[in-house]
Symmetry: C2
Subunit: 326 residues, 2 copies
């Protein structure tokens, strides 16, 4: 296993991200607060460069590569958001990027990845092994693999979102009782766990996952890394990793309070609420934290709950269907 990153690595990542990542707003809405009888702070990572938090980790990893190490550029495998983050970071560093994406990835994520100058290779999520494909291409090209979550610099980069939440809340004189973080491989959760345990240790950190893909919730209960039975079939296309990462779980297991789970209907209701009341476009996987708050999966009365709205890359057609209640 590679080294486990520390809180200091999150601080270092923050310096590296300055002027490159967007300092996304921490949004509070009176109607939402009233509804849950508490304070909800939405960290709008859907407003991040490339439409999700993934640029943070990608930039933290890729900006440190030198021309010799990465003479063949970078290669990544991703369901979509990491792809865009890597493509944008590589483009800024003037490195070629190739992304291995599942063939059922939302079109907007494939198109956006290409718009950042990356080459896209698709594979069948059910029958092919994306890591194998990526490793073979990286060997052939002399390229560096940028993994989606189980990597110290990726985790440290994602943790900068949590650091910002703590600081933006403190500026308003607020301390955060709990933070809800969407979990796929667990990189965003692990980064937030490092940030909060380092700077706001009383905050309870929770992963949030869709039903049927609750590997973190089960792993936190059993104490070992559990796998999902399915690899497809959730509206939350960004949250389909088969199991927690080795490094991410080593960070998360001792630091997380618990794993929350939400249904597809709860996710859709949260997306409609975000549209109608927050005026934010949140993709299904990015809306699980808000879904957990609205569905009462965590106590909110008199408490302050931060929610990482991790991305907003949703196909227009799907978004329209959800608005129309289909």
């Amino acid at each position: 296993m590679q080294k486990i990153p520390s809180f200091d690595d999150v601080l270092a990542a923050r310096e590296r991200l300055k002027g490159q990542a967007v300092m996304t707003p921490l949004i509070e809405n009176p109607v939402l607060n009233e509804r849950v009888q508490g304070r909800v702070l939405i960290k709008a990572e859907c407003l991040q460069r490339t439409g999700s938090f993934k640029f943070r980790g990608a930039w933290n990893a890729i900006s440190r590569l030198d021309g010799d190490t990465a003479k063949g550029g970078v290669v990544a495998y991703s369901s979509g958001n990491h792809a865009q983050g890597v493509a944008a970071a590589a483009q800024l560093m003037k490195l070629p990027a190739l992304i291995v994406m599942p063939s059922d990835t939302p079109r907007i994520k494939q198109a956006n990845t290409r718009s950042y100058g990356a080459e896209v290779v698709t594979y069948d999520r059910a029958s092919e092994d994306r890591e194998e494909i990526a490793n073979r291409i990286a060997r052939e090209r002399g390229a560096v693999i940028v993994p989606p979550f189980d990597h110290p610099e990726i985790i440290a980069g994602q943790g900068t979102s949590g650091l910002e939440v703590i600081e933006q809340a403190a500026e308003r004189g607020i301390s955060v009782d709990a933070v809800l973080v969407p979990a796929s491989g667990g990189g965003l959760v692990a980064g937030n766990a490092l940030a909060f345990s380092g700077r706001s240790p009383m905050t309870q950190v929770h992963s949030v996952e869709p039903e049927g893909f609750d590997d973190h919730a089960r792993s936190l209960r059993s104490g070992k890394r559990e796998r999902n039975e399915k690899t497809t079939g959730s509206i939350c296309d960004a949250l389909l990793s088969p199991a927690p990462g080795e490094i991410t779980f080593a960070i998360n297991q001792p630091r997380l309070k618990a794993g929350l789970v939400v249904s597809e209907a709860e996710v859709k209701r949260a997306m409609v609420f975000a549209f109608e009341t927050l005026k934010l476009v949140i993709e299904p996987g990015g809306a699980v934290g808000l879904a957990a708050v609205l569905a009462g999966k965590i106590a909110t009365r008199g408490r302050t709950i931060a929610v990482i709205a991790s991305g907003g890359n949703v196909d227009p057609g799907l978004f329209a269907e959800i608005l129309n209640g289909r």
Copy 2:
């Protein structure tokens, strides 16, 4: 004519709004900047309390009422956003509110107005006079009329959005070359004109209107208040006032650079761009400034353009249609 508000009135409004209005983020997006070869700063008033800037002016006017003056509460006439702003401000002040709304107002605006505890009375936009209806009801009830734009405290309240733009930009070391402000009766434009002429006089202030409802653009050219021929028939339901206000035009005429005009197709493209790239829900009337930037109606190369995205209250069905290209 009532008194013309000054820059000091905007400063006073800002103090009154503290802790009540949302300090909405000033959002910058790398893809948008690259596309226009300049810097675009989006003042996301769609994230304001009640989903539009209108809460600012409503709170500034209503929070100063005493129980004797407003013993019968407040009455307003509005195409929707002012209605919600007045209803929410009155609710916070524990005053009853009655809103006279056109019968073709988007359902989301009627429902939201009622959700803030207000009574809604509808009228036919083509055949009835909303001011007459509102005045009659206010007389009967001993209520205070809160006009939508032609009122010194309303204008000063709306101007706080411009003050925030100047200060948020200055925090990042940026000065603003031009600001684009949606215009209906001209209250938001007038408030911004006061704020910018008071604190950032080099910034060029522009009104932006939809085709067919370009009363400000024509009035600025002719030097007198021109009327629109039509009162219905634009997707921009928030921008259908028949003519500039008396007070607002007295402020705007000497301070505005020019009036810009955008087509309905340009507005729809801007809304889709906001969805796909900015991840913001912007209503048609709120998107005219972004539409002007994207359609090249103002020079952007090497310049910094602030855009007031004034609201996000759009019916889900209409939004879905626009996403689907209909």
